[in-house]
């Protein structure tokens, strides 16, 4: 038994999550390779441009879009504040309606629960609805390792699975593939496919329909994720387009739903906000083709055996950070990916995680941690951004992603101990305190002109600045410093001329003329992308 003196001990931060939440290499290296893939960049550029336009059309037509964003943000924050009671209520309601609730501390535990439930049915196959949570925990790999075959039924997930590829986008995981590549994948991997199959998207979709039809009719177990779980009623929801979700949620005997604990909503009424925010932000549609809402088991309709697996896997670690927890408010719409200049160029694979793009860069390090000292890929993710802010403008629940990125950079720097960068900053501070030294240093920097090439840029700096110049070109220093120019005859003459001009034109520059550019005060949600292209 121990006795605490003074300050009570802070509870330990929860363990980080496991699964597909860490790449093999730091972002700059991965991005550098991906940038060399011209096909990828063309595919991504086309797709993100299309979806940005669609999203702006359907968000712009709602006069209360900003009010919906405010409500969505507040509902999620409220849910996080009351998470224990809401999860217990959800559990109670699902159980009352004939479902069974399981809890999983991490991905490995969730995988074991699902595999055990599948085995109990006697089935060796499952059909799957596209789900970020099961992708995150690597459920498919685990099921295969215990002799259960998972069939992805979302068209894009099917393409990714057939190609033994990885998803690269939250909404459209095969966005990095074009129609010709998809045609080839189908020809190579779908048994019995028509060898005359062409590359028309409608024909490719028809081939997938024919292939999966038989799986839907015959498979006894389905695994899904959930977009929302309503604590008040025990109602779960899957939002989709193709009807593969309805098939999986309706036809099998057993349904197993894996849901992150942050997906809980307090009230059924809250759906009125998210069913407007999500489709418009996600696919740029007024409403997605299909949304299924179900509560436990309904006699004579749908699966008669329903299991809900509530997943932590690092979410409580993120929750323990007052700033970073806002990332848990994410509803996985992917709007931030589509407006991000970094994502548009590097694609999703460079992030190394199930969650790519701006939200991935803040969510992944929080779910799985940043081990700064060990050259951890996750430590590089908060730097995978220009902090332009387009993601914040696009986010339907107003997650301030740029501020979260800066906070994570700060945490990463704090953790990383003494680095060359820190030493350099300390040296700079010492020099700037002494004017004579500072002037001398600036003169010395002028020597940098000698190492700059004909294009007036320096592409490689000596240590400790090599880290900076690895991913950026530095302008050659000017011939003369501002301080030197200011003290010169030329500088004095220029200042005098400017002062004379100011005196002469003073009356014309009344700052109170009241003229404004109306563009300054537009809707802030439609701001950002237009300037980004």
């Amino acid at each position: 038994m121990s006795t605490f003196l003074g300050m009570p001990a802070r509870p330990p931060r929860s363990p980080y999550g496991t699964g597909n939440l860490r790449g093999d290499e730091p972002f700059p290296r991965a991005a550098h390779r991906e940038l060399g893939n011209g096909q990828l960049r063309r595919n991504l550029g086309k797709a993100t441009t299309t979806i940005r336009t669609k999203r702006l059309n359907v968000t712009g037509e709602l006069p209360d879009w900003e009010a919906l964003r405010d409500a969505g943000s507040a509902i999620k924050t409220d849910a996080m504040n009351r998470l224990p009671e809401l999860l217990e209520q959800l559990e109670r309601k699902v159980t009352e309606h004939g479902g069974t609730v399981h809890w999983a501390r991490d991905g490995a535990e969730a995988n074991e629960i699902v595999a055990r439930l599948v085995k109990a049915t006697g089935s060796s196959e499952v059909i799957k609805v596209k789900s970020m949570a099961t992708q995150e925990i690597g459920l498919n790999e685990h099921l295969e390792s215990v002799g259960i075959t998972p069939y992805e039924t979302d068209l894009a997930e099917l393409i990714v699975q057939l190609a033994h590829d990885k998803p690269s986008h939250i909404l459209v995981p095969a966005i990095h593939r074009n129609r010709d590549e998809i045609r080839q994948i189908f020809l190579d991997r779908i048994p019995g496919v028509d060898p005359e199959l062409d590359n028309v998207p409608a024909h490719l979709a028809a081939a997938a329909r024919a292939y999966l039809r038989e799986k839907f009719m015959a498979t006894k177990v389905a695994v899904s994720g959930a977009n929302f779980g309503v604590a008040e009623t025990g109602t779960l929801s899957v939002v989709e387009s193709e009807g593969n979700g309805r098939m999986c949620l309706t036809l099998p005997d057993t349904l197993i739903t894996v849901m992150g604990i942050e997906k809980v909503l307090p009230r059924y009424q809250d759906l009125e906000v998210f069913l407007q925010l999500l489709p418009r932000s996600s696919t740029g549609e007024r409403m997605n083709p299909y949304t299924s809402l179900w509560t436990g088991v309904t006699p004579d309709d749908g699966p008669q055996d329903f299991h809900l697996v509530l997943l932590d896997n690092g979410r409580t670690a993120a929750l323990a950070d007052a700033v970073g927890r806002a990332a848990l408010n994410c509803i996985r719409c992917s709007a931030c990916l589509n407006v991000c200049p970094v994502y548009e160029r590097t694609g999703g694979h460079a992030y190394g995680s199930t969650y790519p793009g701006p939200i991935g860069a803040v969510l992944t390090p929080q779910l799985a941690g940043m081990h700064a000292a060990d050259d951890d890929p996750n430590s590089s993710l908060p730097y995978a951004s220009s902090l332009c802010g387009a993601c914040f403008d696009a986010c339907p629940v107003k997650i301030d992603i740029p501020s979260l990125l800066v906070e994570l950079r700060h945490q990463n720097t704090e953790q990383s101990g003494t680095t060359p960068e820190k030493l350099a900053m300390r040296a700079a501070a010492a020099v700037m305190k002494r004017p004579a030294l500072y002037t001398g240093a600036q003169k010395a920097a002028g020597l940098g002109r000698l190492v700059a090439g004909r294009d007036r840029t320096i592409s490689r700096l000596p240590p400790p600045f090599a880290g900076w110049s690895d991913s950026r070109d530095t302008e050659a220093p000017p011939r003369q410093t501002f301080r030197a120019w200011f003290a010169s005859d030329e500088g004095r003459a220029a200042l005098r001329a400017a002062a004379d001009e100011h005196d002469g034109s003073h009356a014309e520059h009344d700052p109170g003329d009241g003229r404004h550019d109306p563009g300054d005060e537009g809707h802030d949600h439609s701001h950002g992308e237009g300037e980004k292209k």
Partner: protein, 210 residues
């Protein structure tokens, strides 16, 4: 050893204690309680449905059977499924095969049907969405999913202006399906393709005077 449930709930409570945040009031300043005249709701609902490539057939209640028969004939539907609670008068003018649904009919047999005819629980004009809730005139979810043509009869009086208004009409615990046009995918180069796994054709018969 504590179980996973206690561990996860304990971690959440510890996290909230580490980083407490003030209680939040949800501002609901978005539009609710909107009421639109019949003509405007019909026009808006129709416009949205057509945008999704659904087929729209407005009619009066006394013409229901004729319109249903016309649609089924136009699409060559010779064998149809119906929920057990569907108003039988809606099929008076139809001369094809009608199979009333039952819970023990396996899905592959539904796949052999050309079409399904159902009623609906509600509609949303602004988003062009139809709501099914498993009532006897709508049937179990599999019935309105597996056949390739879904003919859905919607009464204009059940069509609300927007999402908040229509959700307020629903019973949360009922299995509910929101349908906005035929099934679709944009997974290949974000090019929209109508018709994947759900019904590839959606026909909405809107009864203006009900």
């Amino acid at each position: 050893m504590t179980d996973a449930r206690d561990t996860v709930l304990g971690r959440i409570r510890a996290a909230l204690a580490l980083a407490p945040t003030p209680a939040t009031v949800v501002p609901r300043r978005y539009r609710t309680g909107r009421v639109l005249p019949d003509g405007e709701r019909l026009a808006l609902f129709t416009d949205r449905l057509l945008d999704y490539k659904a087929e729209v057939r407005p009619c009066t209640a006394d013409r229901t059977a004729q319109v249903v028969a016309d649609v089924l004939r136009d699409h060559g539907a010779r064998r149809i499924g119906v929920p057990a609670g569907l108003d039988p008068r809606w099929l008076d003018a139809y001369d094809g095969d009608v199979s009333p649904d039952a819970a023990d009919i396996p899905a592959p047999r539904l796949d052999a049907l050309d079409a399904v005819v159902t009623a609906s629980a509600a509609g949303c004009a602004e988003t062009g969405t139809i709501f099914l809730d498993g009532s006897p005139d709508q049937g179990r979810r599999a019935l309105s999913l597996v056949p390739d043509l879904h003919l859905c009869v919607v009464d204009l009086s059940s069509v609300e202006a927007g999402v908040p208004e229509v959700l307020a009409r629903l019973v949360p615990e009922r299995p509910t399906t929101l349908i906005s046009g035929p099934s679709a995918t944009s997974d290949i180069e974000l090019e929209r393709v109508e018709g994947v796994h759900g019904p590839r054709t959606l026909v909405v018969v809107i009864r203006k005077d009900v």
